[in-house]
Symmetry: C2
Subunit: 220 residues, 2 copies
DNA sequence: AAAAACCTTGACTGGTTGGTCAGGTCTGTT
DNA sequence: AACAGACCTGACCAACCAGTCAAGGTTTTT
């Protein structure tokens, strides 16, 4: 996300504000992921970004507002990432790319995924509107694509929704249950393990819907 | 779980105690699932089971003790349910049974699954010992079974762990993300939908590891 | 029937939390 | 240099929380 950030020059007023807001959001994301909305305290977030608590309230009027921004930010990343889904021609390539990208995101945005999972698990009290509008639209368009594949006989007949849920579940599991996986793994997953897991997920799902999984596990 | 419970007769002292404890545990499970550990309040749990707050502290000395019991109870159900895994001869039957059972549990113990997910997602601060001992042992024994299948050429070569994670993720998703699914579904899943989803999950995973998924989707 | 053990509960408390605010500092402009 | 507006923060507060407790009720035992 951040590309050039070695020695932070002062920058303009607006730039500094943005930077501070991002600093707070990053800290908040970590704390919310670790403790949930109710368990997280503004004090903890303040300490996580080495700012006085009152300062957070200067940038974000309330805990709930701050939380909402964190969730919104993640949601945006999710959606953008998932765009690679539609740009591909064949089901094989589209699905393989989508799954691979989602596995990447699980690794890179572990905290974000957790916050999202938390929010949805608790009934999406804060971002229900996102579920009902943005996510619904997005889902419907992907469902239509998959349905076309089914109708054309490209893949085995499945209700597209069960397939999508399966992809979401499997990939996000590696972020949301990272702690469990790491406990069973005696430590964080290595690069090779990530690659192997990604390959296995791709292979099982592709083969599972009647596509040739091939041996191209290492392909990106 | 409870088989004879129409008109509750007074029962013995111990029976009544047990019943009250279960009442509290059920309420706590719901509230913890809805709000997380930090977000849940003893007052809310008390209201959910129509008991004065002080009463909860008579049966469970602290909020954390109560929470631990809730998590332990779910964990036990998980493990017992998963026993059907080893008692079957062929991979097809074993996996189909296991997945089907796990889908059932996602439907019946939605709250429990959420509490477990929450706990693990936050780094298992309270039940880390369970992860490190009980779950690890259980997992290793199942991994051994799957590895034998692979070695015998019964299924495609996969690291058993990625397969297990995939099954856990996919099935538990229907409990943990029930709210999201129901939003996209415009309401709770029907019996037929549950059956279809279960069939699809079975089919994709079985076919995905090189087994004949057959048309036996409706079989139990 | 009386004693003992167990259960129930309203009222209370010490500590913590989200949020406020007045007064201060820094930065750019005139 | 003087002014304005954005930024920062220590100290504070009302609300709320987990947990306590003493007093009263109920059941079982003696």
């Amino acid at each position: 996300m951040s590309q050039t950030e070695g020695a932070e020059k002062p920058g303009t007023r607006a730039e500094m504000r943005e930077e501070t807001e991002r600093l707070i959001l990053d800290a908040a994301e970590r704390v919310f992921a670790d403790s949930g909305f109710g368990g997280a305290t503004m004090q903890a977030i303040a300490e996580a970004c080495a700012l006085p608590k009152a300062n957070l309230h200067y940038y974000f009027s309330s805990k709930e507002k701050l939380y909402r921004q964190v969730v919104e930010r993640i949601f945006t990343v999710w959606l953008e990432a998932a765009d690679s889904f539609e740009t591909s021609a064949s089901p094989e390539v589209a699905l393989r790319r989508y799954i691979t990208r989602k596995m990447q995101l699980s690794r890179e945005y572990r905290h974000g995924s957790k916050v999202w999972a938390n929010e949805v698990m608790h009934g999406a009290p804060i971002i229900q509107d996102y579920l009902e509008i943005t996510l619904r639209d997005w889902t419907e368009s992907r469902v239509a694509v998959i349905r076309r594949w089914v109708d054309a006989g490209d893949i085995q007949p499945v209700d597209p929704r069960w397939l999508l849920y399966m992809i979401w579940a499997t990939t996000q599991h590696y972020a949301d249950f990272a702690h469990q996986i790491e406990t069973l793994n005696n430590g964080p997953m290595s690069d090779a393990q990530w690659q192997e897991a990604t390959g296995t997920v791709c292979a099982i799902i592709l083969r599972g819907i009647g596509l040739d999984a091939g041996d191209a596990v290492a392909e990106t």
